[in-house]
């Protein structure tokens, strides 16, 4: 969930320092700070469920790293400073500079992003986020909706597709061989 605050243009460095000085969590969206409220247990549970499933697959096949918990990725550092936070992200080894996880905001886009919808999230806000991820080079975005028990799959160059509880989510070419029943994400 995002709560809009003031309109002063902030930089990526401002965000880093502010987050650490105040202990508050923000995203930076085109120079504007957007406060992030803590999530619900249901949100956290589903996030962890999917993160754990992804991590065991990624570890088993030594494909890269799965990170979770509003991890900051710098999508634009200059013109319209934007740092988006991912609920869950998969980063393929090739994308990790020196194969190491950064200790500050990541200066690259992950391969896969999972966003879990909170009750207060608006459709447009979520679509803006999906667009920001895709345009930054994320190959696959899953928007998980706990209320409808669905996952919307977004990719550049394809029509959005919604998978329901009876469907199986696939890793496509981003995580070849990965499969997960949508129902399992919510169980």
């Amino acid at each position: 969930m995002a709560v809009s605050s003031q309109a002063k243009p902030y930089t990526v460095d401002d965000l880093w320092h502010l987050s650490h000085a105040t202990g508050q969590r923000y995203e930076l969206v085109r120079g504007e700070l957007v406060e992030m409220a803590p999530t619900s247990p249901e949100h956290g549970y589903i996030e962890l469920n999917l993160a754990a499933t992804l991590r065991s697959f990624v570890r088993e096949h030594a494909l890269g790293k799965v990170v979770s918990g509003e991890v900051g990725f710098v999508l634009d550092a200059r013109e319209t400073p934007t740092v988006r936070a991912a609920d869950v992200a998969f980063i393929a080894t090739q994308r990790l500079p020196g194969g190491e996880l950064p200790k500050q905001f990541a200066q690259f886009a992950p391969d896969l992003v999972v966003e879990v919808v909170s009750p207060a999230d608006s459709y447009s806000e979520m679509m803006r986020k999906v667009q920001d991820w895709l345009q930054a080079g994320v190959r696959l975005v899953w928007v998980v909706d706990p209320s409808a028990k669905t996952v919307a799959v977004h990719r550049e160059g394809t029509t959005v597709r919604i998978y329901g509880e009876e469907d199986t989510l696939s890793g496509d070419d981003v995580l070849p061989g990965f499969e997960c029943k949508v129902a399992d994400i919510f169980s």
């Binding site: 909706d145 029509t159 959005v160």
Partner: protein, 186 residues
């Protein structure tokens, strides 16, 4: 806004009969009834803004036909889904030779949905999916609060246009352009 009502499921024909026995505005999603509340003033105004600007363009270029809110379109027979978009446009190629005086059984080229304050992310996502799945070529999701239009075009990823942007008709309405701010201006 849609409120789920009773649990039994309906066919398109049963739904047609029901709609003629009640004054309620209803939709049928996956065989289940959804009641549509009357729209708020801003919603109605913005829906009309979209309808006027697109209709003028369509008439001027004799491209096809445009439909007001409440027109029912059959998106699927089994399970029965009949949705009423806020606005729809169908090209002459896709339009039937004569009106059926029943729910539309043709697929619009363009559908616009204006978000209501009570619409959840999931409500809107499902509508978009239903339209695209039925073969609609482009869906505009107009958000009066964010003052944006999210454009879902078949075969491409979503793009969100803000007040400083211009909405284009692409290959669905070639040559059509409209400033997003114009839709929300009063």
């Amino acid at each position: 806004m849609a409120v789920a009502t009773e649990k039994r499921t309906y066919t398109v024909d049963e739904f047609w009969e029901l709609c003629h026995q009640t004054d309620k505005r209803l939709e049928l999603a996956g065989g289940e009834l959804r009641e549509l509340a009357p729209a708020n003033d801003e919603h109605g105004y913005i829906t009309m803004q979209v309808a006027v600007v697109v209709s003028q363009f369509v008439k001027r270029h004799r491209l096809g036909y445009t439909f007001a809110a409440e027109t029912g379109f059959v998106l699927s027979e089994e399970p029965a889904t009949v949705r009423a978009p806020d606005f729809a446009y169908v090209s002459r190629d896709r339009a039937p030779e004569r009106w059926s005086r029943h729910f539309a059984r043709f697929v619009p080229d363009l559908v616009a949905e204006v978000i209501s304050p009570t619409d959840t992310y999931g409500d809107v996502a499902q509508k978009v999916q239903d339209w695209l799945g039925a073969g609609v070529r482009v869906v505009w999701v107009v958000d009066p609060v964010a003052r944006t239009v999210a454009v879902h075009r078949a075969g491409t990823a979503v793009r969100v246009y803000g007040e400083e942007d211009t909405l284009s008709g692409g290959d669905v309405l070639p040559g059509f352009e409209c400033k997003v701010s114009e839709i929300f201006a009063r």
